[in-house]
Symmetry: C2
Subunit: 270 residues, 2 copies
């Protein structure tokens, strides 16, 4: 009948739009996507009490591998999938969207803020952001550096870089995976501090950041009252306390416009 | 007392968040910013009937030059400023925000979707967008080409370019400006077709786009039911009908990922 992909925004349950709220209230079945993104102050329980109806958690397997079940339901029922941020911020939902419309399902996309536009809260101009990077947790034998290359490329074009920091939710250890046991590791969220450690680890080897003073801005819990924005050099932010997740990091362009610099100085005290 | 800068989102009055809706309902004074952005299916009248209260239009002069009045009111009253898209998509609101917090006013920013993130509806990955460009209406003696240079730069880095198209609201003719007459020209909104004409006019001279087949995607009225997404070469989209405003144009990176290409082909029929 209809599949609504509803962006929930960034911070609180009230960050949903009225259009999104109504779509959820009218839905026969509601899923909450829980692995590409999250709403900071909302989870299954708070959303269930907010909407007064049952909400089913949908993990990677449910959304990517078993999505035929969801699409099958959407042919006869009103199905809503709730997604933190905006529906199209993750490729996953683009795939689901395309599959649904190819099957002739009526799909409604309800947009919302995501870190990709709300990052401008830090005072850097959204126009001046280059390619966005994702920084994954380093493992003992897996220390990719493509995010570092992109930061260097953006800086050489005098552009800012938004670094999205790794979220690990419902991950299984290799041992549990091999044994096919549905036992999940505790969730892990990368902090600004760990992200900077990883950037500087690569830079110690390659030394492409060049200057010693790289301006950066750390952001935590954007869209909530307890959110923090702290600016400073990469080295100084390494020791700043950004509190509980979610965190994001921005590596500034080498040159800041006057207004950007005013914001940078404003947030320097934390 | 408090200044709330409320993002209204893209398309309809119901695109406001519940947080934003409550801030407007509680406000003593409500302004609608009318010159950097707009909500497609909302104006002063529809918003007034939606919220059941008076709304004052705020043009460039009110927001940029005479904003002390707004800030003065916010010291004793609850003031809300409504902005199409997200509050920080335009530099203007960043300036106002900084000025307000420097004066000790409690400022609340209520985020929403903007074209800067909702553009991902076209199926291109948001991560792969380079610097955003604004394309201004060419005048007889003013034909800037910086947007063209940035498109070339993004393409050489294999990145997409979002082109924001000119909006002229409450503009005065030079004659009326000189005579200090508050007579405004009819609003003008650049179409995808005019934007492409201007890009190709520069390219005829400089010939830096290189290939003859440049993939592009035109978008109109994003976030509304009547919205259109049409993909095709720059040359073919020149003659496509995108209907009434607002329009945006994306110049694709030279290489598309598989999923991006599936969307591109899906939207090729218009």
């Amino acid at each position: 009948m209809v599949l609504s992909i509803v962006g929930l925004g960034l911070g609180d349950v009230e960050d949903v739009t009225l259009k999104g709220f109504n779509a959820v209230k009218e839905a026969d079945v509601v899923f909450l996507e829980i692995y590409t993104s999250l709403v900071i102050n909302a989870n299954k329980q708070t959303l269930e009490s907010f909407y007064g109806k049952e909400i089913l958690e949908a993990d990677r397997i449910c959304i990517e591998e078993q999505n035929d079940k969801i699409l099958e339901e959407a042919k006869t029922k009103k199905v809503a999938i709730l997604v933190g941020g905006d529906p199209f911020s993750a490729t996953t939902h683009s795939e689901l969207y395309l599959k649904a419309i190819e099957q002739g399902i009526d799909v409604k996309v309800i947009h919302n803020a995501s870190i990709m536009n709300a990052v401008a809260s830090c005072g850097l101009q959204l126009y001046r952001f280059g390619e966005t990077v994702s920084i994954p947790f380093f493992e003992v034998n897996w220390r990719p550096r493509s995010f570092y290359d992109k930061i260097i490329k953006n800086r050489s074009a005098n552009l800012h870089t938004l670094c999205l920091l790794d979220i690990k939710v419902r991950e299984r250890s290799v041992e549990n995976l091999m044994a096919n046991r549905l036992i999940f590791e505790p969730p892990r969220f990368m902090t600004v501090n760990v992200a900077i450690d990883q950037i500087l680890e690569i830079d110690n080897e390659l030394n492409l950041l060049g200057e010693t003073e790289i301006k950066a801005i750390g952001i935590s819990r954007l869209g909530t009252k307890e959110g923090k924005i702290i600016s400073g050099t990469l080295q100084s932010l390494r020791n700043s306390d950004f509190g509980v997740p979610l965190h994001s990091l921005i590596i500034c362009a080498p040159e800041l416009h006057d207004l950007e610099l005013s914001f940078y100085n404003h947030y320097a005290s934390g």
